[in-house]
């Protein structure tokens, strides 16, 4: 039973080719990669200026603020997730490829997460300092964003796939995706708050992990189905 079947082998090659191409595109379009990050940075720089530079005020705001802006930054990056592929016909080729669309979609979302969710997460400690986040908050903030941004990418991709065939899908996209983002936001922000107040935060992280697990399994089905509908007209 040690043989690798040619089918599995070619699927692996196919997904690797997909991953390589999308990473090459991310590198070529560095500006788009920077867009959500710059937004994240700018908004959070404005908060102390606009509200109050007082550390006690800022530290109460910080957990929620960081999470809300991270969420909006992800939302900003969603519109382009399938747009290019739709416009240049790659999406058609993906749909009629003999390879499973499910797996290709997973690869695309991994690339999306690597280019938005991961950099956002890594940038947060820096912004935490700016918002006077108490030191107990950093670890749960990193962990919750690491788990949460994955769910954000997966859930957002459903909305992106549904609206890709519309010329102006931006508003609709936000309306579809926002309600689905709410649970992630609630558990993410509350884990940081709990840690700051000295309570355990394992429960919130566990829920975020569970949401990510469900999203990884189910969202690609929805995305693949939505893409088929979008191409089918």
């Amino acid at each position: 039973m040690t043989d690798v079947s040619p089918q599995n082998l070619s699927l692996r090659h196919s997904l690797w080719a997909m991953f390589k191409r999308d990473m090459a595109l991310v590198v070529r379009h560095r500006g788009e990669l920077a867009n959500p990050l710059v937004f994240f940075l700018l908004v959070l720089t404005m908060v102390p200026l606009g509200i109050s530079p007082d550390p006690t005020v800022l530290s109460t705001l910080a957990p929620g603020m960081l999470w809300v802006v991270a969420l909006l930054a992800t939302l900003l990056s969603l519109d382009g997730l399938f747009r290019q592929d739709f416009d240049d016909g790659s999406l058609e080729q993906m749909v009629i490829s003999p390879q499973p669309l499910y797996a290709m979609v997973v690869v695309k979302i991994i690339v999306h997460w690597l280019s938005t969710g991961l950099p956002l997460t890594l940038l947060t400690p820096l912004l935490g300092v700016m918002l006077a986040l108490p030191s107990e908050g950093y670890l749960p903030l990193l962990l919750s964003l690491l788990l949460g941004t994955g769910s954000l990418s997966l859930i957002g991709a459903i909305g992106s796939a549904l609206t890709v065939s519309l010329r102006k899908g931006g508003l609709l996209l936000s309306l579809i995706v926002m309600p689905l983002y709410v649970p992630v936001l609630i558990f993410g922000a509350s884990s940081v708050k709990a840690a700051i107040e000295g309570f355990p935060y394992n429960a919130q992280l566990a829920v975020l992990g569970a949401m990510l697990a469900i999203a990884i399994i189910l969202a690609p089905f929805a995305i693949a189905g939505a893409l088929r509908i979008s191409v089918n007209n």
Partner: protein, 230 residues
């Protein structure tokens, strides 16, 4: 460079693709109806007709991209929708949008495409031969947005030289291609049909091929009625 696989004729008399009372719809409007056609292995079929008659719509149905049709499409005698995997392994589709990324090089574009077609990874040499065949030798590693329109089209057409698919569905493959290129492609179509393949294409150019079969969609224009299923 030429595909060496000869397609085994399992059922030599059975047509590859059959359309049975096919009617195609676009944006809620029936465009063509009553298509009863058989496409056999070894045929080169030109779908003709004026703009807007439904050539692309028909080809999208045949490429299993659109399910907005009534009637039946049979692949090797069985309903297409029930054996999509098998059909798609045998299909090469080239649409108006070719799936070429302007930001990437021809080499990267083709490597991705071959990956999607479940091909082994040691295809670098074949890939270079294919790019050579479409006169893009020396442009392999130049981003496609630096190439001319015709050259970008050629990157997409290089797939034909790499193809192991039996059915080629080509929507306006000759747009922006020069005369010499058209001759070369015509020869390629002929070769593919000799090997037991099937070429379905639309074009407004004159193709100088002996066994070209022309189907004029003007004969099948639908009396304007609307699909009632959504």
């Amino acid at each position: 460079m030429s595909p060496t696989v000869l397609f085994p004729a399992a059922h030599p008399v059975e047509p590859l693709l059959c359309l049975r009372q096919l009617a195609c719809e676009r944006d809620g409007r029936m465009l063509i109806e009553g298509l009863d056609l058989d496409f056999n292995a070894g045929e080169i079929v030109q779908i003709a007709g004026p703009n807007g008659v439904g050539k692309t719509t028909l080809l999208r149905c045949l490429a299993s991209l659109s399910q907005y049709y009534q009637g039946e499409i049979l692949w090797q005698g069985r309903e297409l929708q029930s054996q999509l995997f098998n059909y798609r392994q045998n299909l090469l589709y080239l649409g108006h949008q070719t799936g070429i990324k302007a930001a990437l090089t021809p080499r990267q574009n083709l490597a991705w495409y071959l990956g999607q077609q479940a091909r082994e990874m040691d295809f670098q040499q074949q890939l270079e031969q294919a790019l050579d065949a479409v006169d893009l030798f020396g442009y392999e590693d130049m981003p496609c947005h630096n190439l001319s329109a015709g050259q970008q089209r050629r990157v997409a057409l290089a797939r034909l030289f790499l193809s192991r698919a039996r059915v080629w569905v080509l929507d306006e493959p000759l747009t922006a291609i020069d005369k010499a290129g058209v001759l070369k492609l015509a020869a390629l179509f002929e070769q593919h049909s000799k090997q037991g393949g099937l070429v379905l294409l639309t074009t407004h150019q004159e193709l100088d091929l002996k066994q070209l079969r022309k189907i004029d969609l003007s004969d099948y224009i639908a009396a304007s009625e609307v699909f009632d299923n959504d």
